[in-house]
Symmetry: C2
Amino acid sequence: MAITVVGSLAMDNIETPFRKAANILGGSASFFSIAASFLTDVRIIGVVGTDFDREYLDIFSKRGIDVSAVKMQEGQTFHWEGRYGYDLSDPETLDTRLGVFSGFRPVVPRRFKGDMLFLANIDPELQLNVLSQMDSPGLIALDTMNFWIEGKKAALLKVIEKSDVFIINESEARLLTGEASIFSAADSIFKLGVKILVLKRGAYGATMFADGRFFIVPAYPLEDVKDPTGAGDSFAGGFLGYLDNTSDMTFENLKRALVFGNIMASFTVEDFSVERLLNIEFSELKNRFAKFRDMTYFGGLSI
Amino acid sequence: MAITVVGSLAMDNIETPFRKAANILGGSASFFSIAASFLTDVRIIGVVGTDFDREYLDIFSKRGIDVSAVKMQEGQTFHWEGRYGYDLSDPETLDTRLGVFSGFRPVVPRRFKGDMLFLANIDPELQLNVLSQMDSPGLIALDTMNFWIEGKKAALLKVIEKSDVFIINESEARLLTGEASIFSAADSIFKLGVKILVLKRGAYGATMFADGRFFIVPAYPLEDVKDPTGAGDSFAGGFLGYLDNTSDMTFENLKRALVFGNIMASFTVEDFSVERLLNIEFSELKNRFAKFRDMTYFGGLSI
């Protein structure tokens, strides 16, 4: 099996109270693909400018990620500048330059058309266009953001209707549905057509709704967070990568996949860009999974 | 066994976007004692004014809580007025009137002197005074707040040194120690003398450190939160009540106790004041514990 991801490839400037970094590899497709590559074959559909660092393309190739559908176009690569405060959450956006991404028209190569598909956070009209090019994708997973919920809701609702898995921030689920309770929000979203809903809670973990059941995990607690950028996309990469690897959609396996995504995100935030992700040994993922199990597991009542 | 709690008994005015309530039963000793009374015998040391509603005293008596050491003094009962916004966290304090609480000098009756002791959030000098009156308390547990950390740190450090269990908000642990990482904060606090540290995270649950081990739980997710007041003290009541009931200080039992506290707090916030707490059937506590286990449990890796 394999996963195709459609999303951004970026060169970011990131600032925290402890460090500034310029033109580092970013973008949803970068974090997602590297995280998922620990578990399955991954292909990226995206676009970069002629300024895109060749070393970054080598990073993908070394991890076995198929970049044959990444177009290089005359112009600048998508660029985001963000600044984090001491709490290392909710960055302030200092600058966004779309560059060649503004003209991005994804084309799905024939051999990707049966893959599991991750539609990362891009314009829902582009997401719809990608869906129309697929033949019979294994599973369709979707991310989005408040900008599209507010600005392109009609198109977004069409994408949601065609998707199996919806992965968004808890606050965005409230914004989309107008429901304060996450349970009511989930009910509304299931009526739109998805089968599995994952709500991300930033530094507090995630919740998952599927098969009329519910699962909740805290984030893996860390001694030292350096840069939260890419946590959500790495989480999605670990989650979907695990599902693609195991081909098991039971709720018990969805739980393990979610925890695996959680663990993947915990490595990402330990360094800037994809630095820590690239240095993970698979045994470290397994060890952290086991540690997390130990620190959240409790037995039945003794009274 | 029994637990003695030293803390406030209050009549509060609480305002949320959905309801206003005046002169409702509040105070740390109220929430703590009612929560713990589901599990063990509880005694309150406190003070109320002559305006204190007799029905509130009946509430304690009906739950078998010993109020013989609650003094009634000429004057007003402690009164707090708070307003919650739509997110139902971090209330704005509109008014605080100490009333008879400003002259509170706790006296520990002889028959309480061997009890487990919960020093709720009051002046650390009073907490020290209570400690000096105990003979050989079973276990000493302590709560405090930023006001005392900033204003009476020297006295507070002495109380911490004499305590076994320290239950505070995560942000207060950072304030107390000057450490951003909760692991570093815990290391610093253990050096001050406690054996078990519980960090409360509001709507996101709690973490626990003991025996060199670590445990993390999300909060029990609720359809409808009405009033978060008293959640922390109910949590402490469930946690310590469970420990007193089971007399088992292994880490595995500490975990169950923490989850039981978590569940107790989840009932408290479902209504104003102690309304929901008073209507709990023990079977509901057990059911919610089992449901929580189901929604957080995951098995080992399948890859």
